[in-house]
Amino acid sequence: MKPTYFINFMMGMYIFIFFAYLFGPLIVMSITAFNSAEFPSISPWECFSFRWFNEGKIAYDGQHLAGLLSDWRLHDGIISSLIIGAGVVSLSVPIGMAAAIVLTQVRSQLRDIYYSISIMPVLFPGVIIGISTVVLWDRIAGLGGDGFISDVGRNGIFLTILAQTCFISTYCFLIFVARLQRFDQTQEEAALDLGATQTQVFFKILVPYLMPAIASAAVIAFLFSFENYNTTVFSILSDQTLTTVIASKVRLGISPALSALALTIIALTIIAAVTYEILRRRSEKKYAQSQEIFVKEKAASGRINKEYKVGFKVPKGIVAILLVLVFATYGATQIVKNDLYGQSCIDAADQEKKSKFLEQLQTLESNELTEEELSGGSLGGTEDYGDIFGDPSLFQDFGGFD
């Protein structure tokens, strides 16, 4: 084996392990969403089903396990999370932008101090931000008696927007700082020189330049707000967001409906990322074409290779796509072959569980405990241990505490 092959092999292994570590849990969780069993699992596989995306199930013992569509607490949580996300975006983007613009105006030593103070909220534990927001607003709400201030100061959604904005605006600040560092300030001067007012310079020169940063800051702010737990859990008070709902569900016992939710979120994320990438590539291609036209106009015609043709290129992701297809086909054939799908399978599984449950009930009934067994029986009764403390020789060597 040549050393380069070995190195390539090791590199491949490393990448495989790394990605398995990153995406393994997500893949397993996504598969469990399609298993009809009450507990998220791959094996034993019960039936292939979409029930956890829909209505969930009513178990044989009468317990209702909600699916994604029928879980109203989850829906309320998602709605609160969306409202909070929108609030956080509309506050932290302008705050971050303003702070970054101020940074370009301050000079030398003051600049470092200002920068350090500005990024400090990121370093605070989210718990502290959450608690301190609640404590502050509780005081404020207590000032005016009953009324608007009191209502607002004890509104969980309002407090959560404020608390999250505290540190999320800092991430926005960092995004704007990065973009502003590349800003050519002579453009502002040029606009001023051409007669623009400061306001016009801001809206016609600076804001268009910052547009990509505004977009990415908004996306980042929304994502951070949507997934935040440790600040939210304190500041949300009696309301619920998606994360707090999930957390309280996990406390009661995990359900495949959460897997279904996770898969939905992953799918939405992938769709958004792919759409963005397609749009980006399209605009890049457009730019490249315009440049090509420009070069062709400028260059002497003899220097353009007219015979140039783009050869067929195999997309690099083809191996991954093929692998996924092979596994999916194999899984699907196994499910169909063993009749592990559809209502009949679910009914059969329920029937089996019900009979097992009845069996257990019968066993319990037939082994009814006697009075003697309940009070300890032959092993656990008090009489066996009763006279441990009655033994007069037990403490005879104990000299006492003093």
């Binding site: 453009q187 001067e189 040029a190 020189d193 330049y209 420009f294």
Partner: protein, 365 residues
Amino acid sequence: MSADVELNNVSVTFGSFYAAKSVNVKINGGEFFSFLGPSGCGKTTLLRAISGFQDPSEGSVLIDNKDMFGIGPNKRPTSLIFQNLALFPLMSVSENIAFSLEVRGISKKDRQKRADELLELIALEGQGEKKVHQLSGGQKQRVAIARALAVEPKVLLLDEPLSALDLKLRQRMRTELREIQKRVNITFIYITHDQGEALTMSDRIAVMNEGEIEQIGPCDEVYNNPLTPFVATFVGENNPLFGKVKEINQNKVKIETPDGDFLSTMNENKKLNIGDEAIAFVRPESLFIPRDGDNFDNQIKVNIESFEFEGNIKNFYATLSSGTRIKFSIPNAIDTSSISSGTKLQLGFESIKSSILPKAQLAID
């Protein structure tokens, strides 16, 4: 519509540092005026004082006899063309040109009309829809000029706008700038460190050094009759010959140097006395190899060290008997194939083509 620009005793300080010191200059309406000086001499500071980005610490800037103190750059009748041009990359060429009209609330139709007019002026008709990045260097340059002219400023300020272009383009843009200035007939104030640019385009130039103006005058006067050794060596090339004044006869001065006595011409504004330390200057192109019948005022013995071929001329580097190095240029039309390193020659130059000045700082190459 052009305006006079007057700088009265203008100083600009940053802390204890004088970026510009007591500058007095009156630029006439419709003039092409250049500030010429090495980097860091304060010429850009002066331009920022005229355009309104920097108020002078002392003195006043007058445009059309109106004191401009406290008036911002957006309220002054000036337009500035930046060194990096500062075109707006997110706008099309037309939008760039019409920006000054847009911020003044002029209708889109009128803006488009004016942009088309200006595109014609800079010979870029029909290219208004292009983005800035689709233009070549020279085209960008012209768009920047059109953008600055769109509001019909009374004064156009140019901050080394040609420095990023290659030589051929720079030479062409010089002619074009001059033509545009004649067509629009407004005051142009041009900043450069390139003496070639300043001399070819300007009506008058001001040579600056360390925040102060050393000389103001028409190009040929500054070149032929420099007022200070700095100007003599910064504008064009010059060979300095150090010595002491030996004889004065009206404006003819004889200077005694280690390499002999030379006759030179004294500037009437820079009087010298016998015994003063002085420098006589002679330009490389004023040194000749005498031919039969030539009779020069001054003779000078040189020992050729090296030479370089520049195309139209051939430059020779030589030493005098004292070790002083001088340079002289011979047009390529004259056969100089017999001269090589080690050749000893006798050169001559006319006293009228040599100037003598009191000893002072030279421009450092």
